[in-house]
Structure formats: structure tokens, C-alpha cells
């Protein structure tokens, strides 16, 4: 079984996000890039499937982006136990899910993966489309929001999360592209041995450049407040006093 896991480098939530001078992108120099949350769950799911499978299996961690932002993502994937990496180098800031997915599909086609796992959504772009787009482009069966998986021969059974507490089991024949919901498992930490071994693993670097975009950002901006917000700052003591006043006198809840 050959499993690809799409893992994206995204700005950590602690990073300060500032619009750059172009007005269309962020100042990347002040940003710390980390693995997208649901992608870490996708990688763990792939590793667990490989570990419980009989016969030869391979997990390949795949990322697309600029060299500067993504290097940690591949290293982390290999250190956790992926067998090799594919780095699709793309220095553009294309945000068009169709154009990005085309790059994945073109570069992964010849690999003939049985399964492609992705996160349900990237926390920076939030399109929630890439896994399904790539699946359609490579003529695979697709499912999203997987919260449990069971491989059975050349099929995979997936428990999908639906809205408001509903679920559904779907059985998909290989090849299949599945997006993984967070919380499906408990992602591991890389071991010291894994970190040392990662350096010797194969990494394929592929050059790419996106074709024409069908959608693009006109600008980026800081959202405006929907409400009149009272800001409370200061040392801990004055903050506590202020909150007490709000709870007691303004809201009368204590």
C-alpha cells in the first residue's frame, strides 16, 4: 500500500500576521511556519495504517511551497516515520485551490498512490478543497472529514463527521483521496532516533510553477470590529479588579 500525506506549512497561531507593502500578501519574514493542524492527524493516520498493514507499505510526505517555509514540515514528517518525502517547490504565492491542486496532480500522477490523505482544511487559506480536487483530477474516490478509518483489502471504510452530531460510514475503493478531521488519533512526537534517521531518507525535489489562476486575492486587510469592545489592559491586579467590576456591577452575574 502506498500512501501520500499532503502536509502544509502554515504560520503558527502565535506568529504576528502583518500585511506586506504589496497589500496582497503577508510579511513572511516575521512568521514562524509550522505543520497545519489537521495534516498532523492525517500523517499519524497514515503511519498507523502502515504499521498495522501486512506486506509492504510506504508513507510519503508531500509538501508544496517555498523552500524557506516548508523545510521543517518535510523533516518533521520523515522524523515521525514517513519513508520518503516529495517537495514540490513553488515560490509563487498562488492562492487558487485549482491551480495548486493541478500542481499536486501533475507531480503525483506517476506515483499511483493507493491513498492520498490530506487535512480537512489549511488554517491559513481555509479553502477545504485541496484533497478533493486532487482526488477528482487523479480519478480517485473521495471522502472528507474522516474521523475513523478501517482499511479492508483494496478498500477503505471511513467514518465521516456530518453536521450537528451526525455521522456516516462510507466505503471507498482504492485509489482514494481522503481528508482527515482533527481529533481522529493522537499524533506522535518524533523520537531522537527518528530525527537522526530522517537525514538519510530520500527527498525528491520537483520544480513547479502554477498555470493561470482562476481566483486571486485583490487585497488583504484586518477585519473590522463588529462590536464596541472595551479593552482591558494593565497588571494582573488591576485586570482582576476590572473583571470583578464587570461581573458584579455591569453584568450582575456574581
Amino acid at each position: 500500500m502506498k500512501i501520500a500525506v499532503l502536509t502544509k506549512a502554515i504560520p503558527s497561531y502565535e506568529s504576528s500576521i502583518r500585511v506586506d507593502s504589496s497589500g496582497k500578501w503577508i510579511d513572511e519574514t516575521v512568521v514562524n511556519y509550522v505543520v497545519n493542524e489537521s495534516d498532523a492527524y492525517a500523517l499519524e493516520e497514515a503511519l498507523q495504517i502502515k504499521e498495522s498493514a501486512s506486506g509492504d507499505s510506504e508513507v510519503v510526505v508531500v509538501t508544496l511551497g517555498s523552500e524557506a517555509n516548508t523545510s521543517k514540515v518535510i523533516k518533521d514528517g520523515l522524523a515521525k516515520g514517513a519513508d520518503r518525502g516529495i517537495f514540490i517547490k513553488n515560490e509563487s504565492t498562488t492562492t487558487d485551490p485549482l491551480a495548486i491542486s493541478k500542481l499536486f496532480a501533475d507531480n503525483l500522477k506517476s506515483e499511483n498512490f493507493d491513498l492520498i490523505f490530506s487535512g480537512l482544511q489549511s488554517d491559513d487559506m481555509g479553502s477545504g478543497q485541496t484533497g478533493v480536487l486532487v482526488g477528482e483530477m487523479l480519478d480517485m474516490s473521495t471522502a472528507t472529514l474522516a474521523i475513523e478509518t478501517k482499511v479492508d483489502g483494496d478498500k477503505i471504510k471511513v467514518k465521516r463527521e456530518l453536521e450537528s452530531g451526525w455521522f456516516q460510514w462510507v466505503t471507498l475503493p482504492f485509489p482514494s483521496s481522503i481528508s482527515i478531521q482533527s481529533g481522529i488519533n493522537e499524533p506522535r512526537y518524533p523520537s531522537l532516533k527518528g530525527i537522526m534517521g530522517a537525514k538519510r531518507k530520500e527527498l525528491n525535489v520537483l520544480e513547479s510553477s502554477p498555470e493561470s489562476q482562476t481566483q486571486s486575492f485583490v487585497n488583504l486587510f484586518v477585519p473590522t470590529n463588529e462590536k464596541v469592545t472595551e479593552k482591558i489592559v494593565g497588571d494582573t491586579e488591576s485586570i482582576v479588579a476590572k473583571i470583578m467590576d464587570i461581573l458584579k456591577n455591569k453584568l450582575k452575574v456574581i
Binding site: F221, P223, K242, M244
Partner: protein, 323 residues
């Protein structure tokens, strides 16, 4: 033409689809265009009955026994065929889990962009711009499409179903669905619900909600003590549940409960849209976050910028002393 796709949620129109109908009527008016509404599936009678109340030019029925149960293969094939046949300029839907599951396939099949999770539209004299949140909701963007057609999905409350104009369709049209058994590769089982939740957060007057900013499971008792001192229920964001720190029935948000207490006191929650849709109806929102740019502050009445691990124990002590 503008096309609105109605989603069948276990026999009823999905609430997000009602908002899409309101969006469709607005698009048709702003862009001086015709409006069609599509019912798709096998058991469409309920959808059709409800759609007969909405003002539109055409009600399209695409019915077939192979799409009695939803599948990404079946739905994406039929919607692609409808679009190829009728050439709508914009196809409008709610940003539901079902739409997330099959609409990207339509986008790839037809090479038409899918702008997902839109929060507002600027009609911009006929060349609309679509806003959505990006970078963990810290920024927003306006998106333009450079294609003749686009698929659009709207975040809940981007449009209001209260604005739907009644009146019914001018005409009805049955679309000839061409689908073969082999088109559907997946096998779906009936939808089910897990056992009922442990607490009904929707009934709580006061909620103390913890996010990943509590930093460790070991800090949860401290947060619980604050809730106890206030007589509040504890709720949480999704990552706190994913990490197993709290049970799933405490989760607030699009995949958890939707609450509207008198006070929602959030501790270390960033304010991602999927969390905010579950609590923005709260009468008062008090939020502690150490990041002054945290998106939760955009909807908070009181924004406390500080370290919750320092503030919460002292606050609990004060509340207990004041009793």
C-alpha cells in the same frame, strides 16, 4: 443566470440553503439576472414544496434513484451536468459539510473556480468581490474570479433567510439526469447519531470556555474552579476535545453545540470562525487572550489582554472572597 442548489438535510431544506436562496435573490437583483433553484436527489418532494414558496424564475428538479442517498460521485456528476447544460454564471450554496465534500469535484471536472466559505459580497458594479477570512481569521481578503463562471459557498449568516422574497417560481423544469450505477464508486451507509450528549450547554446562563491557550491539561482544574465560583458550565474549543482534555459534549462551534448564554467568558480561545458560529449569539462576551490581535476580540464586549494563567487564579480567589 444564477443557480442556487438546495441541500436536503434528512427531509428538510438545510438552513444554510435558505441563506443561499436569499443570496441568490440578491445576486439576481444586483446583476440583473435570472434566478433558478435546483432540487437534487431522489426524495425531492419536500424540498420542492418548500421551494415553491421562493420567488424565482425557474425551479429545476434533478431526480434519480441513484442519488437517493448522497454520494460525492453522484452529486458531483449531476451538478456538473446541470451546469454544463444551463451555463449559470454563479452557482450558490451554503458552506455545509456536504458542499465541502462534493463541490470541489465539480470545480475540478469543469475547471470552474470554487470560492468557499464566503462571509460577504461586494457587488462592485457588476464584478463582485468575495470576502473570506484567512490566516486563522487574523486577516480577511477580497477575492476576484477571472473566469466566466464560479461556484460560491457562504458561511452561515453571510446572508439572512429573513430576507427571502416569497412568490414562487415562474416555471418548473425537470432535468434529465444521466447516471449509471458504475458512476458511483462509494458505498454509503445510513446516517446516525452518537449517544446523546452529557450536558446541555444551550441551557446554561453562564459559560466559562477554555481554548488551547490553557496550555496544559494540568491547568483545567484551575479553570473549573473559576467556573464553580461563578456557577458556570465549562465549555471548550475543538482542540481541547481533540487532545482528550474534555469530553466532546463540551465543545462549542460548528461541529459542537451552539450556545447563547448571558455571559460567555472565553479563556485562551483564538476565535476561529468555526468556534465563533457556536457562540456569537451570546448576550455578553468577555475574552481573555494574550494576543491583542486575536480574532475573538472582534466580537467581544470586553477584551482582556493578558495571561490567563496569571489572571484566572486571582480572579477565582476574589470571587470566592466576595461571597
Amino acid at each position: 443566470m444564477i443557480l442556487v442548489v438546495l441541500e436536503n438535510q434528512r427531509g428538510n431544506i438545510h438552513p444554510f440553503s435558505l441563506e443561499a436562496v436569499a443570496a441568490g435573490q440578491k445576486f439576481a437583483q444586483e446583476l440583473n439576472s435570472e434566478l433558478s433553484i435546483l432540487c437534487l436527489g431522489e426524495k425531492v418532494s419536500e424540498l420542492k414544496t418548500q421551494a415553491q414558496n421562493f420567488k424565482s424564475n425557474k425551479l429545476i428538479i434533478a431526480q434519480n434513484s441513484l442519488i437517493d442517498m448522497y454520494s460525492a460521485d453522484g452529486y458531483s456528476k449531476v451538478l456538473s451536468d446541470v451546469i454544463s447544460n444551463m451555463s449559470p454564471k454563479y452557482v450558490l450554496m451554503g458552506h455545509s459539510y456536504m458542499v465541502r465534500d462534493f463541490v470541489p469535484r465539480v470545480s475540478a471536472k469543469l475547471g470552474i473556480p470554487f470560492v468557499s466559505d464566503i462571509i460577504s459580497v461586494n457587488f462592485n458594479n457588476g464584478s463582485p468581490l468575495f470576502s473570506k477570512q484567512v490566516f486563522n481569521a487574523k486577516l480577511a481578503t477580497s477575492i476576484e474570479v477571472s473566469s466566466n463562471q464560479a461556484l460560491l459557498s457562504f458561511q452561515s449568516a453571510a446572508f439572512s433567510s429573513d430576507d427571502i422574497q416569497e412568490g414562487g417560481p415562474d416555471a418548473e423544469h425537470v432535468f434529465d439526469v444521466e447516471l449509471l450505477g458504475q458512476d458511483i464508486r462509494t458505498q454509503s451507509e445510513p446516517e446516525f447519531q452518537e449517544s446523546a450528549s452529557g450536558v446541555d450547554l444551550t441551557a446554561a446562563e453562564l459559560i466559562v470556555s477554555v481554548g488551547r491557550g490553557v496550555e496544559s491539561e494540568d491547568n483545567l482544574p484551575t479553570m473549573q474552579s473559576l467556573a464553580d465560583a461563578m456557577g458556570a458550565e465549562v465549555a471548550s474549543s475543538r482542540p481541547v476535545v481533540d487532545m482528550g482534555w474534555l469530553p466532546p459534549y463540551r465543545q462549542v462551534g460548528s461541529s459542537g453545540q451552539v450556545v447563547s448564554p448571558k455571559l460567555y467568558f472565553s479563556l485562551g480561545v483564538s476565535g476561529a470562525i468555526q468556534h465563533v458560529v457556536g457562540m456569537k449569539g451570546s448576550k455578553n462576551i468577555l475574552a481573555i487572550n494574550k494576543d491583542e490581535d486575536a480574532p475573538i476580540f472582534e466580537i467581544a464586549d470586553y477584551a482582556v489582554i493578558g495571561d490567563l494563567l496569571e489572571i484566572v487564579p486571582k480572579l477565582t480567589e476574589e470571587i470566592n472572597n466576595s461571597k
